[in-house]
């Protein structure tokens, strides 16, 4: 079922690009411990600030969106690593204490 959700994000991303937006797609590639969204979960981000989908329960989306804008500018993909201890989780993102890797690529 996660597959369908991810596919919807790609559809949205493609539609945005067709409208002339510059778009990046972020995809969860690996998770450890308790993390809310499985591998394959996706989020689309535009240079203009639109967002669709999710790669966590809302904890790291802001940081991922920042990284996505950089990828849109440079065209270079990024592999982001969000791995934190429970104590520091609130600072960096994942309050659940889980770890995720997120791949960010431009939709060229």
């Amino acid at each position: 079922m996660s597959t369908t959700q991810a596919e919807d994000v790609l559809t949205v991303a493609a539609a945005w690009r067709a409208q002339g937006e510059r778009v990046a797609v972020a995809t969860v590639t690996e998770t450890w411990g308790s993390s809310p969204r499985p591998a394959g979960s996706q989020m689309a981000i535009t240079a203009s600030g639109r967002m669709a989908g999710s790669v966590s329960g809302g904890c790291i989306e802001g940081a991922v969106a920042d990284a996505a804008r950089k990828t849109i500018e440079t065209g270079m993909p990024q592999l982001l690593d969000f791995g934190v201890t429970n104590e520091r989780a609130w600072e960096v993102g994942l309050a659940c204490g889980g770890k995720v890797k997120v791949f960010v690529e431009a939709l060229s």
Binding site: S2, T3, Q5, T29, E30, A39, Q78, E105, A106
Partner: protein, 237 residues
Amino acid sequence: MTPDLLAALTAARAAKRPVVVATRLPDGAQRLLPDAHAPAELAAAAERALADDRSGTVKLADGEWFLHVHNPPLRLIVVGAVHIAQALVPLAAQLGFAVTVVDPRRSFATDERFPDVTVRTDWPDEAMDVLAPDVRTAVVTLTHDPKLDDPALDRALRSPAFYIGALGSRKTHAARLKRLRALGHDDAALARIRGPVGLPIEAVTAPEIALSIMAEIVAVRRGAPIAATPPAAREAA
């Protein structure tokens, strides 16, 4: 992702073809599989990911690859274009199911009652033969009418559908099992039918019953412990 790859992925999804987008980390080299020209190691890994219906990373000779599985949507076949079906259809669609409603009674199976969903008005056994439920298909019968429900359940039991549910009280269900046994289904086969259908959440309204059915389908699909408990044992607990 290049426009070519996105177009190929979009076409595969539209054709309901299972595909994998393979991305090498971290450089982002990408390809769509299955592909006759793909390296054997990557092709085999993609095949396994599709069979497991699980996206994830694999380490291969030429680096680490993220395999993003795009299987066609799960299917839900609803027999009976009744009030509960009207609540069930949008909920199932929201959960990512491709839904087909089957009911030969044309006064029930109208586009007005079921917008945005495939409605078939052939007989349930004929419809089931065409729809051919597979391991990614759930079947729910809602008509309460043996001449509509029974042929659908008979076909469902002869298929590998991952979920089979039948609306009806315990008394109705006992009578139903007796009829299906007469059609040659043994106890092991009949145990696949979830009846009374849905998780026991004391559902009363049509949307509540739809919720209990979808909750049970998700529980079975995800292997939740509650799904392993047959209805009779749940009631005894």
